[in-house]
Symmetry: C2
Subunit: 327 residues, 2 copies
């Protein structure tokens, strides 16, 4: 979103502009509260503490990046909050939000506000899944003949190296429950969005085994959608951490660790080739270390490493090639 | 270049079409001879053998991929030959060759022929550099009002994790010598091309410490340029393998191995985000395992791992941020 990022000494009390109130204030409280509570829950399992960096963005806003690296349970876990605003090129904007907003002559810029929390957690044990989530709120001011606009986006998704059906039922079940509480149409639609978005196109595989993913959500009262976003964020800990708790001490072989490392390689491929947020951030001068926090500590690429038919690794691959219905 | 790739049992005697003669025949002999002699030289150092896969391309042509993985000296080394032809979308063509050839309405296709040899070698020892080369010959038939065209492209470049000045003088010196033999203007120009091409844009670092890189080379007798391409290919072994021989048994610490792994991570970032050949291949249905053979066996991403000033790691980074003159 343009502008260099600079580290600052302490997390500021608020990342908002003076005068930002209402929904913006509530949403900032929600994502910072979520960051704190998720970090605490992960620290309780891992036994190690997160490192915290605060940074400001030259063009407006800033963020708080919290990372636990080389932990006891987690290879790498990061939770990033950012609140950014200002003007972005119309072309960059289209990439960022995945929709055309008109205009777009060179030099056209769109006045915007964006706040979000995002996270990736890579556990050490190959039986414990990786998890990613992102919840964000966007606003644009009247621009190019269009009225002001706002919307919510986000989702949580899971990426195991081995399939435990009951784990997938637990994770998807938790998100189905929170979706159903708000609208029974949400889960089927957002589950399908997720399967369609997280595709490693050149491999014809999904990155993981899905979850929920929504964009451009603005079809009802904003406060109701903020509540939905908050409930989704609140579901991260109960949907995911029990799976890590369950598998963190599982026995595994060197081959199983290598398979996990190859799946980490696939994770890298998706994130830096296809993920809209990552490529947009990198191409427009975001804070690189906060953006690439999502990459695993270690990854592996073996030549022609297709697993033998009937193995547990092959089952995982099948599920990435044909998305499953878990609940 | 469209079309699925299929494995075949044995390397064919020729990858050319019946009737392909002259320069095409000479160039195929050159790249296959180069593949054989480089593979033999690497096997002699490593003590392990390359695995060979031949494959055919649905739209026309095929290739021979040779890979040594998890060797004694090399983590991963691959040498890939391909000869492909047929018709490619004008839009894909522009990406592939990095120049506009006119036309380009949806559905427009360009009749082309492309032959090349490419390679990446990642040694285990962090004191031994990674090396990449690619030498290719392109032809297009008359199309869209343009006459038939041909050109050579390629280069060899080096990516150490630690800088040994005398090694860089040896490597660059060998390529300066072969360039000077053909044209004293070549080395300065192709060295600069190389520094400009292998840039990890979001990091403002080069992938490695350069070498030579040329494209669209067709400004003199094709036979003279084929000889230049052949001499460059013949310089791979004497410019590079002595550096591996020299450092393969160097002592190193765990921290130095981790630094190498982080440089491997940078290698992955460049290859799958910016390398024209890789992204073109992946987006247009090339043989994925042959394209991604260039990725290291293992890589690492640490959060905020900027090395301390004055260290050997910091020296390497400085050289990637400000390209040096080595000879």
């Amino acid at each position: 979103m343009g502008g260099a990022a600079e580290a600052v000494a302490e997390a500021p009390k608020s990342l908002l502009r003076p005068g930002d109130a209402g929904l913006k204030e509530l949403f900032e409280a929600q994502i910072r509260g979520g960051q704190d509570s998720i970090v605490s829950a992960v620290e309780a399992i891992d036994g190690q503490k997160f490192h915290t960096d605060s940074w400001t963005r030259e063009g407006g806003g800033g963020g708080i990046t919290r990372v636990l690296q080389d932990g006891n349970v987690f290879e790498k876990a990061g939770v990033n909050v950012s609140v950014v605003y200002g003007n972005m090129p119309a072309s960059a904007y289209r990439v960022a939000v995945g929709k055309d907003v008109g205009g777009g002559a060179d030099g056209d810029t769109v006045p915007f506000f964006a706040a979000g929390v995002s996270s990736v957690m890579h556990p050490r044990n190959p039986m414990a899944p990786t998890m990613h989530f992102n919840y964000r709120y966007f606003e644009t001011e009247p621009w190019n003949g269009l009225p002001a606009a706002w919307w919510f986006g986000g989702g949580t998704d899971i990426t195991p190296s081995y399939v435990f059906d009951e784990d997938m039922r637990h994770f998807h079940g938790a998100y189905k429950e929170v979706c159903d509480k708000h609208d029974p149409a949400f889960y089927p639609k957002f589950k399908q969005n997720c399967d369609e978005y997280f595709v490693i196109k050149h491999r014809k595989e999904t990155r993981g085994l899905g979850g929920i993913f929504f964009e451009d959500l603005n079809d009802r009262d904003p406060e109701a959608l903020r509540q939905f976003s908050q409930d989704c964020l609140g579901t991260v800990v109960p949907s995911y951490l029990p799976l890590v708790e369950k598998h963190k001490d599982d026995e595994f072989t060197e081959k199983e660790k290598e398979w996990q490392q190859m799946r980490r390689g696939r994770y890298v491929e998706f994130n830096i080739m296809y993920d809209r947020g990552t490529t947009f951030g990198l191409q427009t001068g975001g804070r690189i270390e906060s953006i690439l926090m999502s990459l695993p500590l270690t990854a592996r690429w073996e030549y022609c490493a297709e697993p033998a038919a009937g193995t547990r690794a092959a089952r995982l691959l099948e599920c990435t090639r044909t998305p499953q219905t878990w609940v």
